[in-house]
């Protein structure tokens, strides 16, 4: 049996490694046009900032792939011949497969802004983008970043670390407040401003200006709803208004796609012998309102692993489990567990904040049963928070055991008892 995987991101790699565990004798080929070896995409920023070299972002030693007998191919797949079970490569070669996994990841969103294809305008997703950024910042004194979210702030930090002034244009009235509750969003907003970045809220990009030679030389930005726009001179423009599944290869070759490559709960596409997983996949979810498109590291890992099991004959359905994520906004760490910001019917919030140290802890509950936690400036134990949510612990019990979940380093001031007593006093009746 020959398994071929398109994409060497975390999804492709997780699938390959799981398959190797399950099927010691199958032939596994993993293809990517982006890099020879798997690297950690979230670490892109650290290469540019000089915290790590590119090679430090590779989670496995180069010799590991040989040891695992996983064949690596560098190149772009341009066509899929589903009938003939073969792939066309950009350099004319062909690779066949018995079963195929598409793990082609995502691409940066572009919203049809005038000038979005000028030189100097770019997203931040891949090594290609990183390379572009090196060229685009040459001689730059200001960069404009369009769109908030996690990648926008990372790109801003990158430019800032090289002494380049940063202007962030976001449509929201507080940073990332479409995802973060008000108080968290305010903390992040404050953090960004304190770092010396020019954050413009309720602002949008109108146009990227051409310097006459096809290069960006500035942008026109305006306040939401305002007719007048302001010119900001800059030589690099970052577009970080989210990502969408990369379906170029699949949709161009007759594989059914919606917003992403459509797969069932076992991650099989509608075409025979083809699976899809990770950032590129849209998991059909009969009975629920929305299909799942999950575009973070751990879901790629989980989906890749499940896709491998499914390709090896498994029938288990994908279970997204209890959601979690973490990020760092300049120096402010953020963790989230469960359903915060989901606007569940009847949800109530308990909030503790230490303004001075930018620490925050939030419990979301429905009728006294915890459904989610948010933390800023503090670390919490994933497995404990997850258990509490999965087992539907009542708020009182969580507060009584809150100490179990603290994950800050030794000697740090512990806030669990203060949090528990503040929240306990208020009771489970505060609405926010």
């Amino acid at each position: 049996m020959h398994i071929t995987i398109v994409g060497n991101g975390v999804t492709g790699v997780s699938a390959a490694l799981r398959l190797r565990e399950l099927q010691p004798d199958w032939k596994i080929t993993m293809i990517s046009g982006e890099s020879d070896y798997h690297y950690s995409r979230p670490a892109l920023m650290y290469i540019f900032m000089g915290h790590m070299r590119y090679k430090d972002t590779k989670p496995y030693e180069d010799s590991f792939w040989d040891e695992q007998r996983i064949d690596l191919v560098r190149g772009w797949v341009t066509e899929i011949d589903a009938e003939g079970h073969s792939l066309q490569m950009h350099d004319g070669g062909a690779i066949c497969y018995d079963r195929l996994l598409l793990a082609t990841g995502a691409e940066s969103n572009k919203f049809g802004w005038p000038g979005q294809d000028l030189v100097g305008v770019q997203g931040l997703y891949s090594l290609m983008d990183l390379k572009k950024l090196y060229a685009n910042v040459e001689g730059a004194s200001r960069g404009v970043i369009v769109g908030g979210g996690l990648i926008g702030i990372e790109l801003a930090e990158m430019l800032h670390s090289r002494g380049i002034e940063v202007t962030l244009l976001v449509r929201e009235s507080s940073y990332w407040d479409n995802v973060l509750p008000k108080e968290e969003s305010e903390l992040v907003t404050r953090q960004i401003r304190r770092a010396g970045m020019d954050l413009r809220l309720e602002s949008e990009l109108k146009e990227v200006l051409d310097d006459g030679h096809g290069r960006a030389c500035g942008v026109l930005a305006s306040k939401l709803g305002s007719a007048t726009s302001e010119r900001i001179d800059c030589s690099v423009v970052g577009l970080t208004a989210g990502v969408h599944p990369n379906t170029t290869l699949a949709s161009g070759n007759g594989i059914e796609c919606g917003r992403g490559i459509l797969v069932d709960r076992t991650l099989k596409t509608h075409s025979p012998d083809i699976w899809a997983a990770g950032d590129c996949a849209e998991i059909e979810n009969p009975g629920e309102e929305l299909n799942w498109i999950q575009q973070v590291w751990y879901t790629g890992k989980a989906q890749g692993k499940l896709a491998a099991e499914s390709m090896a004959g498994g029938t288990e359905a994908y279970d997204p489990g209890i959601w979690f994520n973490s990020a760092k906004f300049v120096d402010l760490e953020y963790q989230t567990y469960g359903q915060v910001g989901f606007r569940l019917p009847g949800e109530e919030h308990l909030l503790w904040q230490d303004e001075e140290s930018s620490r925050l802890f939030r419990i979301v509950h429905v009728a006294g049963v915890v459904v989610g936690f948010n933390a800023m400036g503090m670390r919490w134990r994933h497995r404990v928070c997850e258990r509490w949510i999965a087992e539907k612990w009542p708020v009182e019990r969580v507060l009584a055991d809150l100490k179990d979940a603290g994950f800050d380093p030794e000697f740090f001031t512990r806030f669990e008892s203060e949090i528990a007593s503040t929240m306990g006093r208020v009771g489970s009746g505060v609405r926010s």
Binding site: P42, D56, Y134, H160, R162, G163, R194, F324, E410
Partner: protein, 471 residues
């Protein structure tokens, strides 16, 4: 079709990231900056004052070495040792005081000083040369006048003029102090590092320098309470090779207590403390070598080799050295109890071979001299027999471990990159496994640099808890 190919832009990209790497991105020159790590352009005036004091100090030192003027006076000593130490401390304090507390690794891989560039190599050559002089050509240090410059303080502390070992101890302690301040400023958002850094600074200053000096002053044996066999082999070597001699003849009662203390630390203190806290209680909190690595060595911690090959070499070398010192100790004791009829005239040679190859070449010349090239823990990782023993204890029965926070790891690699011991922390973290490695000195830097809050150093207190919640 050719122009509008959906993959056209991808295919154009033919970059060989493996060979070429990404290099150094453009940096806005200081003069054009409106911000610089939070401080005003041009830097802090105190930063310049600090740098100025260092320069004055170095000039004063050179003048004294060349002309002999002021040598042996307090003025001369204060100018050439005090000014640089004070100046460098001020410099580091001022350099970081305006920056926001947080991880400060920007540009580390772009700077020659911290990424094996020209400055790095120069520092390496300088340190290596100094150690060579110290061990094999001490007369150079003496005849140059360097030793004499420290006479005032040597007399004050030890009651006699200094020798090259005194100069070494003094410089060592000053380095731990000055770079300790740098470390404190860089990690001032993290109380683990604050407490730990103060601890290594204190133990070096008090137990590595002042107390042994003062013991000399009152004519007691120059005893280091924080080194034990096998790192300090003398304390358990027999006859005129070691402490046993001190206990019997010269020092009388005090020496016996000292010897008992050293022995108790080796055989009781070490296992007990390591059981509770892991090897870190010593290696990154108390030890002088560790103290230097955690302060002077901090700019170089990311240069340690993370490959499996290096790990294999580490396991071979460190246990080889351990075996070597055990053999040397055993042989000397057998020889001693049998009145010298086993080794005879070779007693001295055996002990000397260990001293030359391990004590001087490995621990000093390579261990510290190679900081800017192979990272700050070359000796601690590949050579130290104390670390070998502590490591075995840590691996086999200690409660210490680094816990991984569920599935939060994004495999970014910061932890592995900044592990001075060259442990591939990420390899464990990305699988959700805890880290229990013989070589981990518990410095806590992996946990500090992790951008996703994945790692936590723990003394087993929460192991049961983890189990309760994951079963």
């Amino acid at each position: 079709m050719a122009t509008k190919h959906p993959f056209a832009e991808y295919i154009e990209y033919e970059f060989k990231e493996e060979e070429a790497g990404f290099g150094v991105p453009y940096l806005v020159p200081d003069s054009q900056r409106t911000h610089k790590d939070g401080s005003a352009p041009g830097g802090d005036p105190i930063e310049r004052v600090g740098a100025g004091l260092v320069v004055i100090g170095v000039v004063a030192l050179l003048v004294q070495l060349v002309s002999g003027a002021m040598v042996g006076s307090w003025v001369g000593f204060s100018l050439s040792f005090g000014f640089p130490a004070l100046g460098a401390s001020l410099y580091f304090w001022a350099k970081y005081r305006h920056t926001a507390p947080g991880i400060k690794n920007d540009g580390l891989f772009f700077k020659g000083s911290t990424a094996r560039g020209t400055i790095g190599w120069m520092v390496g050559v300088g340190l290596t040369t100094f150690y060579c002089l110290l061990y094999w050509y001490p007369e150079v240090l003496r005849d140059s006048g360097l030793v004499a410059i420290t006479d005032p303080i040597a007399i004050a502390l030890t009651g006699r003029p200094g020798d090259h070992w005194f100069v070494y101890g003094l410089l060592y302690t000053l380095c731990v102090g000055v770079f300790g301040i740098r470390m404190l400023m860089r990690y001032r958002h993290n109380r683990y590092h604050i407490v730990r850094t103060i601890s290594v600074m204190f133990f070096q200053m008090a137990f590595g320098f002042l107390i042994p000096s003062l013991l000399k002053l009152i004519e007691e044996p120059e005893f280091y309470f924080t080194t034990f066999w096998p790192l300090n082999r003398y304390y358990l070597l027999p006859g005129e090779n070691g402490m046993a001699w001190t206990a019997t003849e010269a020092a009388g009662q005090v020496g016996v207590y000292m010897l008992l203390f050293a022995g108790a630390m080796t055989f009781l203190g070490t296992p007990i403390l390591t059981y509770f806290y892991g090897k870190r209680w010593y290696c990154s909190w108390v030890c002088g070598c560790g103290g230097l690595a955690e302060t002077l060595g901090d700019p170089y911690r990311h240069l340690s080799d993370k490959s499996t090959k290096a790990w294999k070499l580490e396991r071979f070398l460190i246990y080889f050295v351990l075996a070597f010192i055990i053999l040397v100790t055993a042989a000397l004791w057998i020889n001693h109890t049998r009145g010298g009829d086993v080794l005879g005239g070779y007693t001295y040679q055996v002990q000397k071979a260990y001293g030359f190859w391990i004590g001087s070449m490995f621990a000093g010349v390579a261990g510290v001299g190679f900081y800017p090239i192979f990272g700050s823990r070359v000796w601690c990782r590949f050579g130290c027999p104390q670390a070998a023993i502590l490591g075995i204890l840590q691996r086999v029965f200690s409660r210490f471990r680094i816990t991984t926070n569920g599935g939060q790891c994004i495999s970014c690699g910061n932890c592995s990159t900044y592990c001075e011991m060259g442990i591939d922390v990420r390899a464990y973290a990305q699988r959700g496994e805890n880290i229990v490695r013989a070589s981990c000195v518990g410095c806590g830097v992996c946990a500090a640099v992790c951008p996703r809050g994945v790692l936590k150093l723990e003394n087993g207190s929460s192991v049961l808890l983890e189990e309760r919640y994951t079963s």
